[in-house]
């Protein structure tokens, strides 16, 4: 999918479909299997962390309310879709989509979204570099190293935020701005969007009900 507007739309629609029902999750998963670069996204270090969190919540949910299995399936599919969206994201896309969607009012939210994505990327790089440093020192990641490591994450983010604020000030930013986004959607983009809407429809109205209605 080349057009970021349709890609973001598809991810949101499929996530909603997966959240609504197990059938929606199953269709969304099939859709995810057809996406290019789908397996590249699950190799990210954060994937394991989020997946572990889903497992923990699912186990607790299964023991307390009995919905653990359903929760696990639905949230796993949503996680896969989110990881895919994060992996294929190209810097500047949220900015362009936000301005296209909200006009001038979309400039600041778009800028914030871009800066957030950049911060996430930086966090990923930081964590990878810190793991390398620990490995080189032959120091296991434990409680004694956790405090300085987390401190480093926080201080780096603050330092980058200062730098970014300085940069925006130097460039005369107070609020708002101008951007003329252009998009070039192809046939595949439209087709992907239509399929996603169909999946949402199937998630809302289960297939069984459609056949009952046809009768």
């Amino acid at each position: 999918m080349q057009d970021p507007r349709i890609r973001i739309f598809v991810i949101i629609v499929l996530s909603v479909a997966a959240f609504i029902s197990l059938a929606g999750a199953a269709f969304a998963f099939l859709y995810w299997l057809c996406l290019p670069g789908r397996f590249r996204c699950i190799r990210r270090p954060a994937a394991l962390l989020f997946f572990s969190m889903i497992i923990v919540v699912s186990v607790i949910s299964e023991y307390t309310s009995g919905n653990g299995f359903s929760y696990f399936i639905r949230m796993t599919v949503i996680l896969l879709l989110a990881l895919y969206a994060y992996t294929v994201y190209i810097p500047g896309e949220f900015f362009r989509v936000s301005v296209w969607l909200f006009g001038k009012r979309g400039f600041d939210p778009g800028l914030i979204a871009e800066m957030s994505m950049e911060a996430l990327n930086d966090l990923e790089d930081d964590s990878s570099n810190i793991r390398i440093a620990l490995r080189q020192k032959e120091v296991p990641l434990g409680f004694s190293t956790l405090v300085p490591v987390i401190g480093m994450f926080v201080l780096n983010q603050i330092s980058r935020a200062y730098d970014q604020a300085d940069l925006l000030t130097v460039r005369g930013y107070t609020n708002g701005g101008t951007l003329c986004p252009d998009f070039h959607p192809g046939i595949r983009d439209y087709f992907s969007g239509i399929v996603a809407i169909c999946i949402l429809f199937l998630a809302i109205f289960p297939i069984r009900d459609i056949f009952i209605l046809l009768h």
Binding site: A133, K137, T145, P148, N156
Partner: protein, 232 residues
Amino acid sequence: MPLVFEDVSYTRDQFRLTANGIFEEGVHLVSGKVGSGKSTLAFIASGLVRPGTGVVHGNQIRKSLLSMQFPEYHTTGITLQEEVRSWGLDPEEILESTRLSGRGEQDVSVLSRGELKRLHLGCVLSCDADLLVLDEPFSALDCREKRVICRRIAERNHGIVIICTHEQTWLPPVDFIWEMKNGSLVSCGRVPGAITRWSLAPRHIRELVEQGLVPRNISPEAVMEATCRTRE
């Protein structure tokens, strides 16, 4: 104990790195523009990134160490003392050599980038590693500190030291020069012959070479000697 790159290639998005060559014992300078792949090469050389194809081997290299450009990434101690100890070194000795004596109890976060880099390089250069890869060791340092680091690198008399940098003035005496060109590692050979083949050489060295005054090495002292040399 040579470090051998055999048909190494590494691809990330649009960027492709290729490397072939033997890093013998001594000090190697890998020069190249920003984004040319020096850091990627440093990670591959130290075994922290696996190449897509080809192999990197150094059979007799027992311990390798990579110094990343940003010293914050290496910080695992809260205080300066703890940080030095995490490298398995004596805090008093290191803090004195890095002119941070009496600050051992201070938090690492209060150090400026330059001070932290000084402390970090002090630790790295005191470690007994057969392969030492320094990625941009001169960044965030003032001229005085750059000179100190050059001297300390020159004092190392064993193992392989690979310096990946785009520094143009403060360089230590080296044995070999390499270049990163369009993602490919190119050997210029052994110094001083390599200086004449060094296409990315700093301007002042290039001008000397053009005038037939080839420096014996690339350190400021050697360049100064060549500049003051009387033509025969």
